[in-house]
């Protein structure tokens, strides 16, 4: 039996029943920009960065099932322009000073902005006041960089079964909180071994006492782009098969 496929930017992408457009594209080495999606967890569909045009309709690729013979537009100038605007909004809503951020070079937000040629934040900055939580002995929370992707919330609740993080408030006032009476991470049973300690795509959940142990210039996205890495990973997986 021949495998079902759909068209992504004109190329045939094979998929298995139940796979999302994101999963199938990724397995085929095609990068669909994303922030709230993580390959190890179920899609969430909240950041909308992965929006593609599937048979003419805008859909979040991370929560849309691939269907036989559908035509999907991904890296078109029109969609990338919209994605760049979403990124710019995220940059001005928080405080993203990459030169002093421990996540710089390992950050999915930054790597995606490079990939999408984001040369400026474009909008006026909010410069919000978001005090850090340094109470925990092993982990620092720098809320200034939170993009509300809820990965930590989902993983702490569904995988670690600790339910340590939550989002609170609405609209521009929406923010990440720690589920403790005091609101402090030290007053939870959060630990560095939690899966949630590893999932933040940006520089919020940071391990203490190892700042800049890998120098800038030798980090995850310093040599190759996030898109190239998806292509290379798929090629390597193919080779193993």
């Amino acid at each position: 039996m021949s495998q079902d496929t759909f068209l992504l930017d004109g190329e045939e992408i094979p998929f298995t029943r139940g796979q999302t457009i994101m999963e199938a594209a990724r397995a085929a080495g095609k990068f669909i920009p994303h922030l709230c999606w993580h390959p190890d967890f179920t899609g969430h569909g909240s950041c909308k960065l992965c929006t593609v045009k599937a048979n003419g309709h805008l859909n979040a690729a991370c929560v849309t099932a691939a269907r036989k013979d559908m035509t999907v537009e991904n890296r078109t100038p029109e969609l990338d322009d919209k994605r760049r605007t979403l990124l710019q909004l995220l940059f001005v809503e928080g405080n993203h000073f990459c030169p002093s951020c421990e996540k710089s070079g390992n950050c999915v937000l930054q790597a995606t902005a490079y990939e999408l040629d984001m040369m400026s934040p474009h909008f006026d900055h909010f410069f919000p006041d978001r005090p850090v939580d340094a109470s925990h002995p092993e982990v620092l929370l720098d809320f200034n960089r939170c993009i509300l992707c809820e990965l930590c919330v989902r993983v702490s609740r569904d995988i670690d079964h600790k339910n340590i993080f939550a989002l609170s408030g609405r609209g521009i006032a929406k923010h990440l909180v720690v589920n403790a009476e005091s609101g402090r991470l030290a007053d939870t049973d959060f630990s560095l071994d939690d899966k949630a300690a590893q999932v933040c795509p940006v520089g919020v959940i940071l391990t203490k006492k190892k700042g800049f142990s890998v120098p800038i210039g030798q980090r995850r996205f310093d040599a190759t782009s996030i898109a190239t890495q998806v292509t290379e990973a798929a090629a390597a997986a193919q080779e193993e098969v």
Binding site: F91, N95, H96, F97, C98, P99, S100, C101, S104, G105, Q110, A113, Y114, E115, D117, M118, M119, S120, P121, H122, D124, H125, F127, P128, D129, R130, I216, T224, S225
Partner: protein, 182 residues
Amino acid sequence: MDAPRKLKVATTSLAGCFGCHMSLLDIDERLLDLLEIVEFDRSPLTDIKHCGHCDIGLIEGGVCNAENVHVLREFRANCKILVAVGACAVNGGLPAQRNHLQLHEILTAVYATEAGLASGVQIPNDPELPLPLNQVHPIHEVVKVDYFLPGCPPSGDAIWKFLTDLVAGCSPHLGYGLIRYD
């Protein structure tokens, strides 16, 4: 035939650290090639005090005080193309990390309550000193900016690629590896 007119370039550092200007010097011997096609107007390199009519204005640093606003407006009024160079011009950078603090609290902490100050030290108030703004702003929040060159600082290679594209009359395109925010 006459050689084509050299493009006039002005540069300044507002609330910056001159790191971007140092990075401009990091284009090394290509500086000589650059001087074949451009001449510098107002710039720390020439010590000309006011910006004349220019083709390109390169602004390092954000806007942290009243003088920065005046200088930035002078550049905007005189430069056909205005470029935000470096993280501070692009998003306020390190100086903007004071933005969630009250200005009087910062000045009091630095000049009045900080341990080890000599007795009688006051918050400076000489009329010659430009008044600080409540917050530090990236330059596009004050004037229209035509192009942005991020980086802290942008590398010499990024500056070179950017300028040579611009001088050649095309939209600068840095590409992967040269676009960096850190």
